[in-house]
C-alpha cells in the first residue's frame, strides 16, 4: 500500500505524543502522529481535563451549600447529572479539537489508525491499520512510542470492570445517574478525585487503601491532613485494607474487605477501580523488536531511547509518574535529543504532582521521610492556612504548606501543600527548584499581599525559625 517517509513518526496523540510532534516540527523534522482514537489522548479526553470539569461543578455546588456563610441566599440548589457530564464532555471535545488545529498549524501529518511496528532499517517500520481496515506502511528515521496507559485491573481478585456496576475512570466520568453509594478502591490521585466529586454531590463514599494512609505518594503529614478533611466531609476511609472479594449483586456490588485481619462486607451501588495504571504495550510488535518491557511499561533512558535503534518511548507507556506534563516534557527532551540539541534528562524530582480533590493537594520534590532516607539532614517549615489573611477572606482556612530544606546547603528538597488553590501555587516552588534557589533567595522574594502565596514565603521563613505571622 501507500508509503510515505518521515523524519519522525509519533505513535499516540496524547500530551506526550502531540507535544513531541509539535516540537519536532518546530525543529524542522518532517513529522507524523498516528492516533487510533482521539487526539489529546487520555489527558484531554478521559483524564485530566474532563475530571477537572466535573470537579469544578462539585466545587461550585459545595460553595452553594455554604452560601449563607457568605451572606447569600441560595435555597433549594439542585444538580442535573446529565448536564454536568455534558459540560465535561464538551470541554474535552473542545480541547481535543484544539489539538488537531495545533498539529495542522505546525504542519504535522495526522494518520488515523492503529499502529504496529515491524523491523525496519534505520528505525522500525510503522504499519497503520486504518478505520477502513486497510493497512499502510510508513518509514521514518525515528519512531517515538507514546501509546499511553490504561487502568490496571486484577481479574483474579474480581477487580475487573464490567462497565455497569464496576467502573474504571472512563465510566466514572460519564455517570447516567447519581449513585447513592460508591466504593473507591485505591486512594491515589484518580481515586481521591472521584471520591471527592461523588461525595460532594451527595453519594456515600467509602475509600479502600492497602497501605496505611491515603495518597501514599504524598508527604505523610499531608496524608493525615487529607484524611481528616475527607472524614469531616463524610467519606469513610479504610486504610491497611484489602478487597478480598468483589461481586455484583442485583442492586449493585458487594465487597468483602479485610481490615486489620477482620473481614467486613460493604454493599454499594457502584465501584470505582483506581488501583493503578498499566502501559499500552500490547499488539505493537514490541516483543519481536526486542523492546525491553518491565512491569507493563517500556524501559527507556532519560532521553527516551529504548535500546532498539531509532525507537524511543515517552509518557505513560514508560511508567511513573503517570502525569501529562511529565509525558509532554519527556517528549520535548526526546525530540531535542534526536535533533542533536544539548539537553539533559528531566530531573524527576522537579515534576510537580497535583490532585484536584477538595481540599486540593500539590507537591514537588522529596517528602520529609524520603529526604531523610536519602541521607539529608533537614529543616522543615510549615505554615497553616489559618494564619493567612487571604485564606480566611476566601473562607478556606484549612490547609498547610510544608517545605523541606537540606540543612547544610539550603536546597529546597521538597514542598507539600494541601488546601485551596494549592495546585496553582506549587509552580512557584517548582521554578525555585529548577533554578536551584536556596532559602536565601526565597526569603528575599517579595510575595504579593494578600495572596495564598504568602504562605509559601512563611513556610520557608518558618523552616529557619523566622515565620512572621504565626
Amino acid at each position: 500500500m501507500a508509503s510515505e517517509n518521515f523524519d519522525l513518526i509519533v505513535i499516540g496523540g496524547g500530551p506526550g505524543g502531540y507535544v513531541a510532534a509539535i516540537r519536532a516540527s518546530q525543529l524542522g523534522l518532517k513529522t507524523a502522529v498516528v492516533e487510533r482514537e482521539h487526539l489529546g489522548g487520555i489527558c484531554l479526553n478521559w483524564g485530566c481535563i474532563p475530571t477537572k470539569a466535573l470537579l469544578r461543578t462539585s466545587d461550585i455546588y459545595h460553595l452553594f451549600q455554604r452560601a449563607e456563610e457568605f451572606g447569600l441566599k441560595a435555597d433549594n440548589v439542585r444538580f442535573d447529572i446529565e448536564a454536568i457530564v455534558k459540560r465535561s464532555r464538551k470541554v474535552a471535545g473542545r480541547l481535543s479539537g484544539g489539538v488537531g488545529h495545533l498539529l495542522k498549524k505546525n504542519k504535522v501529518t495526522v494518520i488515523d489508525g492503529e499502529a504496529k511496528l515491524e523491523k525496519g532499517s534505520q528505525a522500525p517500520k510503522v504499519v497503520v491499520k486504518g478505520k477502513d481496515g486497510e493497512s499502510a506502511t510508513y518509514e521514518a528515521k525515528h519512531v517515538i512510542l507514546a501509546t499511553g496507559a490504561r487502568a490496571r485491573t486484577i481479574p483474579a481478585a474480581g477487580l475487573e470492570p464490567d462497565g455497569k456496576t464496576i467502573w474504571t475512570y472512563k465510566e466514572a466520568m460519564v455517570p447516567e445517574t447519581m449513585p447513592a453509594s460508591i466504593l473507591v478502591i485505591g486512594s491515589g490521585a484518580i481515586g481521591m478525585e472521584f471520591a471527592s466529586f461523588y461525595s460532594t454531590l451527595g453519594a456515600k463514599v467509602t475509600v479502600v487503601e492497602m497501605v496505611d494512609r491515603i495518597l501514599p505518594a504524598e508527604d505523610e503529614e499531608i496524608s493525615q491532613h487529607a484524611k481528616k478533611a475527607f472524614e469531616k466531609q463524610g467519606l469513610k476511609i479504610l486504610t491497611k485494607a484489602q478487597v478480598e472479594k468483589l461481586e455484583t449483586t442485583k442492586s449493585g456490588a458487594k465487597a468483602t474487605i479485610k481490615v486489620d485481619g477482620k473481614s467486613e462486607a460493604v454493599e454499594v451501588e457502584k465501584v470505582i477501580l483506581a488501583i493503578g495504571i498499566t502501559g499500552n504495550v500490547e499488539n505493537l510488535g514490541l516483543e519481536e523488536l526486542g523492546v525491553k518491557i518491565e512491569r507493563g511499561h517500556v524501559v527507556a533512558d532519560g532521553y527516551g531511547a529504548t535500546g532498539v535503534p531509532g525507537l524511543y518511548a515517552i509518557g505513560d507507556v514508560t511508567g511513573a509518574p503517570w502525569l501529562a506534563h511529565k509525558a509532554s516534557h519527556e517528549g520535548v527532551i526526546c525530540v531535542e535529543k534526536i535533533a542533536g540539541q544539548d539537553v539533559h534528562p528531566m530531573n524527576k524530582s522537579n515534576i510537580p504532582g497535583c490532585t484536584y480533590c477538595h481540599p486540593q493537594i500539590a507537591s514537588v520534590g522529596l517528602t520529609e521521610a524520603k529526604a531523610k532516607e536519602a541521607g539529608h539532614e533537614v529543616r522543615v517549615g510549615r505554615f497553616p492556612f489559618v494564619g493567612n489573611g487571604k485564606a480566611i477572606a476566601l473562607g478556606e482556612d484549612q490547609g498547610l504548606i510544608k517545605t523541606v530544606f537540606d540543612k547544610k546547603t539550603g536546597e529546597l528538597l521538597g514542598a507539600h501543600m494541601i488546601g485551596a488553590e494549592v495546585t496553582e501555587l506549587i509552580q512557584g516552588y517548582v521554578v525555585a527548584r529548577q533554578l536551584e534557589t536556596t532559602e536565601a533567595e526565597l526569603m528575599h522574594t517579595v510575595f504579593a499581599h494578600p495572596t495564598l502565596s504568602e504562605m509559601m514565603h512563611e513556610s520557608v521563613l518558618d523552616a529557619y525559625g523566622r515565620a512572621l505571622h504565626y
Binding site: H344, K408, T437
Partner: protein
C-alpha cells in the same frame, strides 16, 4: 559609559597572570589592533591587542603587577565623545554593590546569628547570579551590561555547594542553559576531584587526591624551617603549571622506562658533512636529526604515536614532536608540527626560531601546546641516562643522554664507538612494553644508519 579593558586569558589554563608592562599611557588614543600591554602567562609573554577604539581613560592595574586575575578590569577606555565623568560611572559599577537596606537585619541583631541570617547576608552579596568567566579571551570588552556572555553563571545552590566543598567555580563548565553552572556540575566536580574539606556528608571512603595539584596548598610553615635560613621565591605562572601538570602526570599515568644504547658515529659524520655543504645559516644539530628520526619512527609504528582517553586510544596521524627547552625559571616544550613531513633544514630553522622565542617567553600558546610526543635532551649537560615524566596527553617521551666514547664489542672484538643511551618513558595505558620496544627498534637504525632518515 567607559569601556572596561579586562585582563585576558591567553590560554585555557590561565587563571591569573602578570601584567608586565603597559605600552600605552593614560590619554593615548588607540585603535583596535594596537598593542597596548604585555602579559606574562603560565608559559609565555604575550601582547595584548586593543579590541575597541578610543582613548585610554585610566589605567587601573600598574605595569609589573603580579597575580592579576583573568577578567579583572585593568584599564578604562573612553569612547569618542566621552569625558572623564564616564570613568566614575564605570568604576562605581565595577566595585561591589552596597548591600540593600539592612532594616531586616537590624531588627534581628539582638539574636545571635542564625544560619538563615548568614545566608541572608550571603544572598545580598551574591545579588548577581554571576561569577567571573575565566574563559573570556577578548582583552577589551565592549559588552554594555555586565551580564552579557562575558560572565559565567551559576545557580545559588551551585555556588553554595561549591563554597562548602572548597571548589573554585571558575574552574567548572556549566551544563545548564547558556552554560549556567548548576548542582549536577558541582556534584560531578566534587565527586571526581574531591575537596579536602571532608565533611560528614562526604562519602566515607577516602577519595582520591584533588585532580588539580595545588602547589600553594603546601605552606612554607609546614616545612618547619628555622627563620632566616631560607628565602621564598614566589611561584610564577610557569612554575605553577609545571607543578600542576607534572604532579598530575606522575600520579595518574602509569609510567615505565625502556633503555637502549645507540651508536652515534655515523650520525655525527653525516651531520658534519651536511653542515659543510649546507648553505649559509643552516646548521643542523644532533637534536634536529633526532627530531626527524623520532618523527619517522612514530609514523612507522603508528600505535606508538598515541594518547590515552577513557573513550578510546587516540592514534595521531602526524608526528608533532615537542622538544623540551630549558629557559630561565623553568622549561617549555615548543612543538614541531608534522615533523615527519619536514626535512632537516626546515626542522633546524624552525627549532632555532622556536627556541629563541621560547627563551624570551614569546611563544604563542598554539606553539607549545598539543604535541603527540616529546624529546628531552640533557646530553649536552653530561647526563648519561634519565627517565622523564610523561607530558600528558602524550603517550611517550624520549630522554636523550650524552653521546660519549665507550668501549663496545664489534665483530667479537673490543672497539671504540660514540654511544648514547636513550630512555623512552611510556604511558602504559596506551603504550605497552612491546609497542615501546617496536618504536625504539624503528628509531635505532634511523640513527645508526642516518642516510635512511634523509629518504
Amino acid at each position: 559609559m567607559a569601556i572596561e579593558i579586562l585582563m585576558p586569558a591567553l590560554s585555557p589554563t590561565m587563571e591569573e597572570g602578570t601584567l608586565s608592562r603597559w605600552l600605552v599611557k593614560e590619554g593615548d588614543e588607540i585603535k583596535s589592533g594596537d598593542v597596548i600591554a604585555e602579559i606574562e602567562t603560565d608559559k609565555a609573554t604575550m601582547e595584548v591587542e586593543a579590541v575597541d577604539e578610543g582613548r585610554i581613560g585610566k589605567i587601573l592595574v600598574e605595569g609589573g603587577s603580579e597575580g592579576v586575575k583573568v577578567n579583572a578590569v585593568i584599564a578604562l577606555l573612553l569612547e569618542e565623545g566621552e569625558d572623564e565623568s564616564a570613568l566614575k560611572e564605570a568604576q562605581s559599577s565595577t566595585s561591589q554593590k552596597p548591600p540593600p537596606d539592612n532594616e531586616v537585619k537590624g531588627k534581628e541583631s539582638k539574636t545571635s546569628e542564625t544560619p538563615a541570617e548568614r545566608s541572608e547576608s550571603r544572598g545580598q552579596e551574591q545579588d548577581e547570579d554571576e561569577v567571573p568567566d575565566r574563559a573570556k579571551r577578548a582583552s577589551g570588552s565592549s559588552d554594555k551590561g555586565r551580564n552579557g556572555s562575558s560572565r559565567l553563571k551559576a545557580s545559588p545552590l551551585a555556588k553554595r555547594m561549591a563554597e562548602q566543598g572548597g571548589l573554585d567555580l571558575s574552574t567548572l563548565d556549566g551544563s545548564g542553559p547558556n552554560g549556567r553552572i548548576v548542582k549536577r556540575d558541582v556534584e560531578a566536580a566534587l565527586k571526581d576531584g574531591a575537596p579536602k574539606a571532608a565533611t560528614k556528608d562526604a562519602a566515607p571512603e577516602t577519595k582520591s587526591a584533588p585532580a588539580k595539584a595545588e602547589p600553594g596548598k603546601i605552606s612554607v610553615e609546614s616545612l618547619h624551617l628555622e627563620e632566616g635560613t631560607y628565602e621564598v621565591v614566589p611561584l610564577d605562572g610557569m612554575r605553577k603549571t609545571i607543578a600542576r601538570r607534572m604532579t598530575a602526570s606522575f600520579r595518574d599515568v602509569p609510567h615505565f622506562p625502556l633503555n637502549i644504547d645507540i651508536e652515534l658515529d655515523r650520525l655525527l659524520e653525516l651531520r658534519s658533512e651536511l653542515n659543510r655543504k649546507a648553505p649559509e645559516g643552516v646548521k643542523v644539530s644532533v637534536n634536529d636529526m633526532l627530531i626527524r628520526a623520532c618523527a619517522l619512527a612514530l609514523i612507522r609504528v603508528p600505535e606508538s604515536n598515541a594518547s590515552y582517553t577513557d573513550e578510546g586510544l587516540v592514534l595521531h596521524k602526524h608526528a608533532d614532536v615537542a622538544v623540551a627547552v630549558a629557559i630561565d625559571g623553568g622549561l617549555i616544550t615548543p612543538v614541531i608540527k608534522k615533523a615527519e613531513t619536514k626535512g632537516l633544514a626546515a626542522i633546524s630553522s624552525e627549532m632555532k626560531d622556536l627556541a629563541a622565542r621560547a627563551r624570551e617567553r614569546k611563544l604563542k600558546p598554539e606553539e607549545f601546546q598539543g604535541g603527540t610526543f616529546s624529546i628531552s635532551n640533557l646530553g649536552m649537560m653530561g647526563i648519561k641516562s634519565f627517565a622523564s615524566i610523561i607530558n600528558e596527553p602524550q603517550g611517550m617521551i624520549l630522554s636523550v643522554g650524552a653521546g660519549e666514547k665507550r668501549p663496545v664489542v664489534k665483530n667479537d672484538a673490543l672497539a671504540i664507538a660514540t654511544m648514547m643511551t636513550v630512555t623512552l618513558t611510556c604511558d602504559h595505558r596506551v603504550v605497552d612494553g612491546s609497542v615501546g620496544a617496536k618504536f625504539l627498534s624503528a628509531l635505532k637504525p634511523l640513527i645508526e644508519d642516518p642516510v635512511t632518515m634523509l629518504l
